[in-house]
Subunit: 439 residues, 2 copies
């Protein structure tokens, strides 16, 4: 926890308090992956009952999936609060008038609009992003240099009319995005925040388990900056091509990978090509929106000046999909501890009543210790339970059977070996790991 509470406007968080009996869960795993999905993330998440496809590129999140999603959201929220972000929620429905000044209403300019209309035939659009609406909103609250800087973010549903959608939850037609917007007096104040946002983003990717594979990547900028910056996670499932400089821990997007740029950055010539997913991006907007929509402030000396803006995006669903692409094997998902739906999966194998009783007791004790636990208390064959445990991918599997006697057979999802432990050893192991993971 790195929250400086005096600067933190609004820290709210989901805390998943309880554990759960698998027999009560309404979702089930499927024997086979869905035939109509191409991407690994959609195949595994659907088969495991984490998500449900409504139509191509449009997914519902079911209880286990929503738990993962909320944990990712919460990590992002904490990091945004830590750099002074104030949380709001804006709306999907938007008026033409908001988008015309920046030339973004025409379908030829922005080609992923979903449009609709009111009963009186007034056209509306479903927001693909919120730079323009928030600039308009901030006009009510920014008048003077004393009102700046301000940092405002939301978790909100975006709609994008993608021609194709076959990357599962990594590229959707309807998806939640965390978008933060910064409002500064000038470029220097903006740059200071921009650097802080890089640290916050690095923290987020570290905390969700993608840190080592995710590179700060130079990408094309706009009118107000030579570059924007993407956070690209290396995986074969990626749609982007980047060039990674491992020594300096940065990358360059193919779109700007030129000799000029390489010389500019001056980090040598040691770049490796890789496929990657853009899991976040930060962008200097400058005064493009504030000029077009009239967001100005009075300086200390009484002049009028345009507000200098930036935008900072990250999609929790895309992060979740990328985690699955990176952390899976032939049997299922391997969730990092920090975002796993539960930390421990307790399995009671066989029909022995003493085993079932011991498992119920273990379940209750883990829960009491504040450990999130899913208990497979179903009336199923051992083989089915073990297979489902691999598919669901919780970090710790704790098996009780007549063979284990009073001990517990503990296995980490990402290791092959099992070992027999006592209940107190199990509690201790999980608690220590949990602390490390949420530090």
């Amino acid at each position: 926890m790195r929250n400086n509470s005096l600067n933190v406007a609004f820290l709210s968080r989901f805390v998943s308090l309880t554990s759960m009996l698998q027999s009560k869960l309404f979702t089930k795993t499927s024997r086979q992956a869905p035939a109509d999905e191409v991407s690994v993330n959609a195949k595994l998440l659907t088969q495991a009952g984490f998500i449900h496809k409504e139509l191509s590129g449009v997914y519902s999140y079911l209880p286990l999936g929503l738990r993962v999603f909320r944990k990712i959201e919460n990590i992002i929220r904490e990091e945004m609060d830590a750099i002074g972000g104030q949380e709001i929620t804006m709306t999907a429905l938007q008026e033409k008038e908001t988008w015309e000044p920046t030339n973004q209403w025409d379908d030829k300019q922005v080609d992923v609009w979903f449009k609709t209309k009111l009963k009186n035939d007034t056209q509306l659009g479903l927001a693909v992003t919120h730079e323009a609406p928030i600039t308009k909103l901030m006009k009510s609250f920014i008048q003077s240099y004393r009102d700046l800087p301000k940092f405002v973010y939301q978790f909100q549903t975006k709609f994008r009319n993608e021609a194709r959608a076959k990357s599962g939850i990594m590229r959707c037609r309807e998806f939640e995005m965390k978008d933060l917007y910064s409002f500064c007096k000038n470029e220097q104040e903006h740059n200071e925040f921009y650097e802080r946002s890089k640290v916050a983003y690095k923290n987020i990717f570290d905390r969700v388990g993608l840190g080592k594979l995710t590179y700060l990547t130079f990408a094309s900028g706009g009118m107000f900056s030579k570059f924007s910056h993407e956070f690209q996670t290396v995986t074969e499932a990626g749609e982007d091509t980047i060039y990674v400089n491992k020594k300096h821990n940065i990358a360059i997007n193919k779109e700007v990978f030129t000799e000029d740029v390489k010389k500019d950055l001056g980090l040598g010539d040691d770049y490796e090509e890789a496929k990657a997913v853009e899991v976040g991006n930060i962008f200097t907007l400058g005064t493009r929106f504030s000029e077009a929509l009239g967001l100005a402030y009075q300086t200390e000396s009484g002049d009028t000046k345009q507000v200098f803006m930036g935008s900072y995006g990250i999609g929790p669903g895309r992060v979740m999909g990328t985690v699955v692409e990176v952390y899976h094997d032939a049997s299922g998902i391997l969730w990092p501890m920090s975002i796993a739906p539960f930390q421990v999966h307790v399995l009671a194998l066989g029909t022995d009543k003493a085993v079932a009783d011991a498992a119920h007791k273990l379940y209750a004790n883990l829960e009491r210790a504040g450990i999130e636990v899913l208990f497979d208390d179903r009336d199923e064959m051992s083989g089915v339970k073990l297979k489902d445990a691999d598919l669901l991918g919780l970090p710790y599997r704790a098996v009780l059977s007549s063979k284990t006697s009073s001990q517990i057979e503990l296995k980490l999802r990402n290791e092959k070996e099992t070992r027999l432990v006592s209940e107190s050893e199990l509690l201790n192991t999980v608690s220590v790991q949990k602390k490390l993971d949420t530090a």
Copy 2:
């Protein structure tokens, strides 16, 4: 807290941990209420900087408003979890095929659709409700009597193309709704859950402060039940007319207020007419959706039977708007403790540095005690601060000035009198009230 954790599928909650300096908040109050609003809730919430109008019937929630909204959400979530609800989130974008079997796609049948389309001209609708999509979804998970009953809910954005929208956040074109759907083996199992849902709803309205004004109200039913039930809060701002029987603490909606129905209910003839807002409703769907969309299960004896369904709605935004309609005076809002954006408003009046220092210390101590506190540390005149405090409406106002010496002038928003207290008295008073309120 009434959670039975063994039955609770998924308890997650927002906890607002921190307090805040008012000088950092990006929103400001306005001198006047907005001229383009008719309803009291939209006037006050906009003037106080809790919400922002995007277009008629479409509102963004700003930091203080979002805090209230999330607290209401969280109360609802806890009560839904307590009766065995499992949380998911479905999507706004929906296909025609989902709605045709129940005859709900045609604009003549459902007249509040927002429609849009994919690039290949496939028509889509923005879900006005989710009975049909969830029935389709549950076909993947319900096959046998062993899979029943199940209770599934979400907090999700609905879109309704209302012809007029002038009730502020009480009736919106885009709004979040908690909708729970129940899936039971038969009518008897359904009725048991239906009764439990009444208790959960009663708890919700009690906890948000509307309990005493909110009546379980008989309203028109459907094919499968003579009545549905609404929860109606009595206020002049209401669009509905109900007949209240105070002795039995129930009401009858005007639409079914007939001699026959009165005789049916057998509660005498003592009814008073009142204006009211429908803050929640529960409805027996029977097999309308399961028949049309093919959601059936195998009974214990091997027969095939349709699943018996119900739906249970409540809009956190409408609840919030209703609270403002009910709890306000000429100077502003009076938030109930349980959903106030912060519990205590600390005001430092005057320019005395010793007062400012004492206020900062009090702020830190309240925060440390786990009390949510907004501290007006702005460089503003006393009159402005006092006026804003009334407008924002936090339950406790704690004023420090050179007049109060080492004491604190404490005032409840809903009382006229102030009294001088010590810091420990203040801490004690607020903590006790907080405990009572969240018990």
